[in-house]
């Protein structure tokens, strides 16, 4: 609960300001923790920490290794104080979640009472310094805190002996140490593990899909307000940069927001817990919060007549749906609300629009529109809001609507008065068939029908009642329709990716085709100068109305989004639906680990439930700046082609199945697949379904594409396309590519395919007559070609089995760090245990075939130093040097079978950290048969090679769709099914500097592992590392103090309590931060 307040300050990124604010922050933090415990944050922190510059983080020097604070990874690459300060705030926000996660799995600290953990959560980095400031902590937690304090002070004394400054660095580990001490007290046997578990920190998640609500322009059109599930995000329209983030609590998700009608810098935000918060979105301050008691799905704000108060029309969805009008009174009148219920209905309301300051309310449900007209308009009290509702049913499903209040046009003064008696409401309704129905002057139509019912009028006039104009251009359901401000145009869009502007006077539609994805929402800006379009690829573009040129483009993470609600029903026969959880190919730029590449589909409309779309684009996302860098097509696509076949079916694009970057980040290899759709293979039909399917699959198209980085355009240029990298000669069909790995030492990739062959692809400098062929930039042109291939027989002993090839179920590849060994695991479709081959890359021969490891359910394969990690039914770590099992841990996935989970289990190895991460899916199913999945989550564990127990383990909502190691760092990147990216990083990793080459570090680690292998792993791992880090510290002191210390920890030390500590205490704290680690090690 305490997280909202710190968020307010997130904007402040100015270094100087940050420094200035340190003291204040300390006091604030104390206040925060109090607030947090009190549950509702009523206090508004002083704005002193809110600094003038709202600049978003500008791209900084790309340092490979950047300090990492606990819990914050998104700023990992930003080594400027500004960001790290920001990071700190974020962390505070995140702590709750992160620690919560930690408390969940039983592996970690089971004996630690959850209360304790919660206490920590609240305190984060503060309580250990200021235990008295947390009076309402439960006694257990308190005692822990006290102990921690004692520990810390003892550390402090030792630290004094140690060398100096680098307080930041110390601070970074403080939390870990605290945990360590706790565990030491509690259970000495577990202390190391506990320490480890604390070391791994989860960043807040980036990305996520924008809510399916209309984007909101600020009245001056300088800002665009968008919402995702967790926060309200304010973007500057001019730069498309994030200007402000208004987070909501971690308990609920954001459901609706609306700008205040009276004060344009205020915004009402409703969340699923029923809270309504009024924010000043300019300053980022929270003005008030109310409990609405229900989940508000839509909000519309009007000005109370003859006053400057807001009345908020709320659509609340519970068992039924209701519309109410509320007044939220701010401080001057007490934080209370007043409510007037207007309508209750059982049919689901999809959208609400309020016209003419509440004189008319228009509601849309699935198949009906309801228009409410206010009676007793002259009265202004809330309780006097009464409506007469007129509902009319449609035969087709309504997808969108927009009502427009037409102003009287006539200039005739005399008639003016009379005209004012009657409002003219025009209504445009888009239906599922793609028709926009235009009801002009709908109130007159009501009147005509009602009077004819009373028999006043001639029957023939009924015909005039509802005779809507039909604007039919869209093939598919209309995504959104809006009136232009003058009422002369209608703007509509839908799945066709075409913005259509209907000039009503001429009936002429004007089209803006080839938008990147289906149009989901259209908004006309307050002055009518721009249209904001929400596209189905998680982006919002703002087009000028005059030239239809894009002015603003806000892009989120566009990767596959999985709505469990929309999942197809489980069929009894198979778990075919799980294929939607297949991994998303993701690669991290080795030279800049904050840059990740992953494949994305062109469009993911929310309305449609058509399963998984082909992912044929590559999105580059910058984790440091939280921005999408670019998007490019990897395969043929339908961006500028018709995307619908004559039969109405969607034309499928090829699907990218693998993406890898070369070790130097110069090359990108992708594999895409395309299989003709079933509908088009009817001509193959010979009556036997199996044959048909086989014939269809024989027509699969597989391409391996090699791309070269184009630095000028920050894109990838296609360098080579290898058709059918794995080709079945005998049946003339393209085999699938099961895995693609990059050579860790040189340009080169290896693939393994359905055809039982491992192939290595390498570039060759192109020579003509012995002279290197050079391209336009004088660069030597290269040709990618097959370097070597190794055939994998299905049986170890050829003589024992038949010559017939078994179809492999799957296969995985892994290069050792020096690229001398290529491991290839093959899992056969039979119940055979499978085999892992170790291929000597020099000679291209199989040197050893491991059959000891059962790889039937093979999910991942990786090398860490001399260890081979195989994830199948168990996580198996095999020591290659001694050729024996290091350890093996069975894995457990709830709610999913052993073979079904194969494509859902992810493995990533990180050589530099000597760790590997495994993500396991967990499903919770509904009880009913033919059920859907109720809840899906992933459990991510990080292991190293010498201990069975995970270093860290955490559970995340959503299925991990991609897991990759951040190449030059020790952390991992997780892309989940909400299209959010998180990073996992060890706190130790933060000590790395941009300057020293990571290889050293790795080597040292490796050495240490080898030496200490059989000893107590924790001890061994800890000590050399600590030494190393310490030595690094010395070097850092000289020139890099600004950049290398951990700002957050330092800040925590400096201002973690409400009361400024005495100078002596402060000094000792700082010292403790610096000297903590050596001291601890020594103590151990």
């Amino acid at each position: 609960m305490s997280d909202a307040a710190p968020q307010l300050k997130r904007k402040s990124e100015d270094v100087a300001a940050q420094r200035k604010a340190k003291k204040q922050r300390r006091s604030e933090a104390a206040a925060r923790s109090d607030d947090g415990r009190n549950g509702v944050d009523t206090s508004t922190p002083s704005a002193t920490t809110t600094h003038k510059s709202k600049t978003t983080p500008k791209p900084k020097k790309h340092s490979k290794s950047t300090p990492m604070t606990n819990g914050v990874s998104q700023d990992a690459t930003n080594d400027t104080p500004a960001t790290s300060q920001k990071t700190k705030k974020l962390r505070e926000q995140q702590n709750g979640a992160a620690n919560h996660v930690e408390s969940e799995p039983g592996i970690v600290e089971t004996q630690t009472p959850s209360l304790e953990v919660n206490g920590e959560t609240d305190g984060a980095g503060h309580h250990d310094r200021k235990p008295p400031s947390t009076p309402d902590l439960l006694p257990a937690a308190e005692s822990v805190e006290l102990r921690q304090k004692q520990e810390d002070t003892s550390h402090l004394s030792k630290k004094e002996l140690n060398k100096k400054k680098k307080k930041e660095r110390k601070e970074k580990n403080r939390a870990a140490r605290k945990e360590l001490t706790m565990t030491e007290v509690a259970d000495s046997a577990r202390k190391k593990k506990a320490k480890r578990s604390e070391e791994w920190l989860t960043s807040s998640s980036q990305g996520g899909w924008f809510l399916s609500t209309d984007p909101v322009f600020s009245p001056d059109e300088k800002y665009l307000i968008l919402a995702n599930l967790k926060s309200l995000r304010i973007y500057a329209a001019e730069t498309s940069l994030l200007a402000n983030v208004l987070p909501i609590g971690d308990t609920g998700v954001l459901t609706a927001f609306a700008l205040s009608s009276t004060k344009p810098n205020q915004v009402y935000v409703a969340d699923s817990t029923g809270m309504v918060t009024l924010w000043d979105w300019v300053s980022g301050k929270k003005i008030g919060q109310w409990d609405a008691g229900a989940t508000i799905q839509h909000m519309a704000v009007i000005t109370r007549p003859e006053s400057d108060e807001d009345f908020v029309y709320c659509h609340e969805a519970g068992d039924g749906h209701s519309i109410s009008v509320r007044a939220f009174y701010t401080k001057s009148r007490g934080s209370r609300t007043e409510l007037k219920q207007l309508l209750e209905t059982s049919s689901a309301i999809h959208d609400v629009q309020v016209l003419l300051q509440g004189r008319y309310v228009v509601l849309a449900s699935d198949d009906s529109m309801t228009v409410g007209k206010r009676v007793k308009v002259s009265k202004t009290a809330l309780q006097d809001f009464e409506y007469v509702w007129r509902e009319f049913k449609f035969s087709k499903r309504i997808t969108t609507f927009d009502a427009f209040s037409r102003q009287p046009q006539g200039s005739d003064k005399g008639k003016q008065v009379a005209r004012d008696q009657r409002d003219v409401i025009d209504l445009a309704v888009g239906d599922e068939a793609g028709v926009v129905l235009l009801f002009e002057d709908i109130l007159a139509s009501f009147a005509a029908i009602e009077s004819s019912q009373k028999g006043k009028k001639d029957k023939t006039d009924i015909a005039e009642g509802f005779r809507p104009k039909r604007l039919h251009w869209h093939r598919d359901a209309v995504g959104s329709v809006k009136w232009s401000l003058d009422g002369n145009y209608l703007i509509s869009g839908g799945d066709e990716t075409v913005l259509t502007i209907w000039q009503l006077a001429t009936g002429q539609p004007q089209h803006l085709p080839h938008l990147a994805a289906a149009i989901e929402k259209i908004v006309v800006s307050p002055t009518g100068s721009a249209y904001a379009l929400t596209l189905a690829n998680n982006s919002v573009i703002v087009l000028s109305t005059t030239e239809l040129e894009a002015k603003t483009n806000v892009i989120g993470i566009q990767s596959r989004r999985i709505d469990l609600e929309q999942m197809p029903k489980e069929s009894k026969s198979s778990n075919a639906h799980l294929y939607i959880f297949d991994s998303v190919p993701l690669a991290v730029n080795p030279t800049n680990s904050s840059e990740v590449f992953f494949s994305v589909p062109s469009s993911q409309p929310r309305q449609k439930n058509e399963g998984r779309r082909s992912e044929s684009y590559l999105q580059t996302f910058d984790l440091a700046n939280q921005r999408a860098r670019g998007r490019q097509a990897l395969t043929r696509n339908n961006a500028t082609e018709p995307n619908v076949a004559p039969d109405g079916g969607r034309i499928k694009e090829p699907n990218v199945t693998h993406v890898q970057t070369s070790h130097d980040g110069e090359w990108l290899a992708t594999v895409d697949e395309w299989v003709p759709p079933r509908a088009d293979s009817g001509y193959l039909n010979e009556g036997i379904p199996e044959f048909n399917e086989q014939e269809r699959l024989h027509r699969r198209e597989v391409h391996l594409k090699i791309w070269r980085r184009d630095r000028d355009n920050s894109q990838w240029k296609l360098e080579a396309r290898i058709d059918a990298p794995h080709f079945f000669e005998d049946v003339c069909s393209n085999g699938r590519v099961f895995d693609l790995v990059a050579d860790p030492t040189a340009a080169g990739f290896a693939t393994v395919g359905e055809d039982h062959v491992v192939r290595a692809w390498r570039p060759k400098t192109r020579l003509r007559d012995g002279v290197v062929v050079r391209g336009a930039e004088k660069e030597g042109l290269v040709t990618w070609s097959l370097d070597c291939s190794v055939e994998i027989s299905d049986k170890l002993d050829v003589t024992e089995g038949s010559q017939q090839l078994l179809p492999p179920r799957t296969s995985r590849l892994a290069y050792s760090a020096d690229a001398s060994v290529l491991a290839a695991s093959v899992s056969w479709d039979s119940e055979d245990a499978g085999v892992t081959h170790l291929i000597d890359t020099q000679t291209a021969t199989i040197r050893r075939s491991l059959t000891e490891i059962d790889v039937t359910a093979l999910s991942g394969l990786g090398f860490i130093g001399q260890y081979l990690v195989v994830v199948a039914d168990a996580i198996t770590v095999w020591d290659m040097v001694s050729d024996q099992l290091a350890y093996s841990i069975p894995i457990n996935t709830a709610g999913i079978g052993r073979l079904d989970r194969i494509p859902l289990v992810r493995l990533a190895t990180n050589e530099s950290g000597g760790t590997f991460a495994v993500s396991l899916p967990q499903f919770e199913k509904r009880d009913s048969p033919a059920s859907r999945i109720k809840k899906a989550s992933s459990r991510v564990s990080i292991y190293n090679t010498d201990r069975k127990k995970p270093l860290w383990s955490g559970s995340f909502p959503g299925i991990t769709l991609a897991l990759a190691s951040r190449k030059s760092e020790r952390g991992y990147v997780i892309l989940d099914s909400f299209s959010c990216i998180k990073t996992l990083s060890p706190s130790a990793g933060r000590l790395q500097l941009p300057t020293p080459p990571p290889e050293e570090n790795e080597e040292l680690q490796r050495v240490s592992y080898e030496v200490d292998e059989d000893e107590d792993a924790d001890e061994a791992a800890g000590r050399p590392l600590a030494n190393l880090l310490l030595s690094e510290d010395l070097t850092q002191d000289i020139g890099h103090d600004e950049h290398v210390f951990n700002m957050q920890d330092l800040q925590n030390v400096l201002n973690d309590g409400s009361v400024p500590p005495p100078p002596q205490g402060l000094f000792s704290n700082v010292l403790a931060l610096i000297g903590g680690r050596p001291h601890k090690v020594a103590a151990a």
Partner: protein, 921 residues
Amino acid sequence: MSDCTSAAMDIHRSRFVPYPPSAINALAFSHPEPEHGQADPESLRLAIGRANGNIELWNPARGAWLQEKVFYGGKDRSVEGLAWTQEPDRRDAHGKIVPGRLRLFSIGYSSSVTEWDLATGLPARHSTGSHSEVWCFAAQPRQKNTAKGSLNDDNDACQKIVAGCADGTIVLLSTQDNDLTFERFVSRATNKKARALSITYKDPHTVLAGFADSMIRVFDTRNGSVIRNISLGNGPHGGPKEILVWKVKCLPNGDFVSGDSTGDIRIYSGKNYSQTQRISGHEADVLDLAVTRDGSSIFSAGMDRRTCFYTSKKGQAQGQSGKWRKVSHQRHHEHDVKAMATYEGNKLSVVVTGGIDTQPIAIPIRQFGKELSRGLPALPPTPPLTSAPDARLLVSWWNTEVRIWHVKPQDDGTEKPKMVARLALQDEENIISVSISHDGGLLAVATASAVKLFQLVRSQAGAGSGLRIRKLDMPSIAGAKVVRLAATGNWLAAVMATDEVQLVRIVRTDDPTDTPRALAKVQPLYRLDRDMTSSSPLSGQSGFYERSIVHADFSKDGNVFAVVDLAGYLDTWIIEGHEDSTAPEIDIDDTSPAAGENDDSDNEEDERDEQIIFLGQHWIRNPSGHHAPRLDSTPVVLSFQPTTGIDRPEPNGNPAVHPTRHNRHPHSHELPTAEYRLLLVSAEHQLYLFDVMSGRLSEWSRRNPPSRYPREYKQLDLPAKGCIWDVSQSQQRIWLYGEKWLFMFDLAKDFTISDAEHAGKKRKRDAAKNTSGAGEAVPQKEVPVTKMRKFQSDENDKAGRQKWIDVTATGRPSKGADDDDDDSGQALASLRRLSSKQDGEQTKGGLPNGESEDMVIGGEVGDIEQRRSKEPWWHTFKYRPILGIVPISGDDSYHAPEMVLVERPSWDLDLPPRFVGTHEQ
């Protein structure tokens, strides 16, 4: 080709007859609105002009859309435009207003305007003038109020006709004095020689003409002055520079609208002739426009097959006052839409569109959006098919061509019918009627100018299957609209355009080498004069429109001849005596009227005295013919039931008939003794089974009034086209078909009476009848808005929430009168059944009820078997659209009939390439 085999009924389902489509080029309603604002005029007709030169007159009354008459054109004659005028109303002796006579004019690719005689269907007169081809023409609006008509001089009383020509000339024609004469040039040819594409009257003295040079010119017809030139500007980018103004139409308030080759419609102010709005609704040329009477709606149609609908709200104080908006468009046609016509009456309120796909479509105006459009029959109402069952020959004809196929029996394998002869007439006139004798030896062909007789000679065995055609001499008959050969080939009847009936005796021998010859003397037959006091505006000088003979046929043995006219009057003639080869071929008795003639003939002044006796046979009017009742509605089918098994030994010649002094021209007065039953089907689907010799309705007809008919039959909207008899000793089945349906009735059985069913059905039918003349009500799921309700915010208004108002209800009260009629008929029928129960029992008892094992049509109707065994009827909608069904096997009647069913599906039409829209590429 032949997909049905069965012991009971062989249907050769075939599509080999290449009946060529003929595009609709022009449509015109005889009246723009109800007469005197009251009921829809009786004389309301729709004229459809086709590309083959035919003009069809359709009667839309009661939504029946019956094609009553066809004025046949000829080769290379096309109807490009149609216009009706109506003479000024007169007051008759009783001071009642008599509507003026209707006149129909057409233009083709010539410089003349043609007026048609509505009664005879022949061109009445042509206009002359030294101008180029007429491209468009329009009739002056009729003077609205007859009261003021007296003030106007006669010159204005008659509607004038203004015509636009290919060189840009505008010509004014006068229709005064029942004539059509050139009056003056309104405008001489322009320099550019731009074609005048469209022309219309804005008011009685102002015409608007759309030209091919992007101009609309406004003329004053009185002095030929140009009031205004309105330019439409340049054509769109990339297209031709000039815009073709395909159509101009006036709105009632004086504003006018144009449709052009850019696909836009433009609306102009009638006051200052300036363009007020331009709406783009089409992807290609707008070819025709229609406006509604109140001026609040516009329809446009064009090359992109769309029919667009625009409205403007009139008198709306605010908002879009007067602004036109396109409401919707729909694609009713499969090819270019070339013509539209509107009629808005109290009940009938439709716009009819037609084009190259040959099918007229009726679209509701007032009920637009609430009723569906309706496709009217695209194929001729009388099948252009006939057959010679004994020779297994099928004859079809169109335009100036006749084709004859030989249809092999089903068990001959799947061989296609082979075309054995082809006949193309050299004269230009289109063929109107063709008849062939049952043995396939004689073929009669009628055009508007001549009746021709041909002998079909089978080639020598082995010399191929072709037929040789030999023309035979005929007494000169100046054209006919129906020609019928008796089954035996002995008699040929021709119904002239003037509705006179001419009979020709053809002498044939059994010797195949002997050439048949037609006797030179023609026997005219005269119909009874019916009471036609109330002359309709359609009738001209040459006769009553209603008395036009529409159907004629011989009985199977050739002894009875029957004709029926539009009004529903039946006339029958029978032959006296027996054929006597020894008697003189022609024996004219001009002395005395036949003693046996009935009294009715006395008052016929036209009756000539001469009696012509052919080989001892003589035609007389059926003595009991006047008993036959008039039909309730227009007859659509006339057919004699084949006489079964009553083979009385024919005496050789006429015994005891010898010439004597007193009787120099002796002939037998013996009448045929067989039972001749004649089936007539009316447009209202009523079956009339007449007993010809007694002049009465048969017992079956009396026992089974229309109210007893099966519901499925009563609900049919398309009239019958023909019938096939399947009569044996065991059964009397009739197969009746329309364009989209095929019904079987067993005339030996009565329909079952189910009162509950009866009541339910009838209401339904009433509802269907109450539509505006277009299709049925739009199904609920197609209507955008189905119902609405109103309620208050407060909780206690639960009642209001329940009250849904159906916004689609047409809300017409059903009429009680019909119910009464039906009820009385019902009662009467029940009585009759009761009284004749014993007879019925006997009849039924005598008939073996063998339905369970026969009547399987190719196994496709197995599911109907059950119901069939209970009901004396059966139906299918499987075959559509049916061009015609003809019997093909001349086997004895004990054998199941074999027939050829010819379909002409619309996708099978041979149409020119059509416009392809952008979204269709």
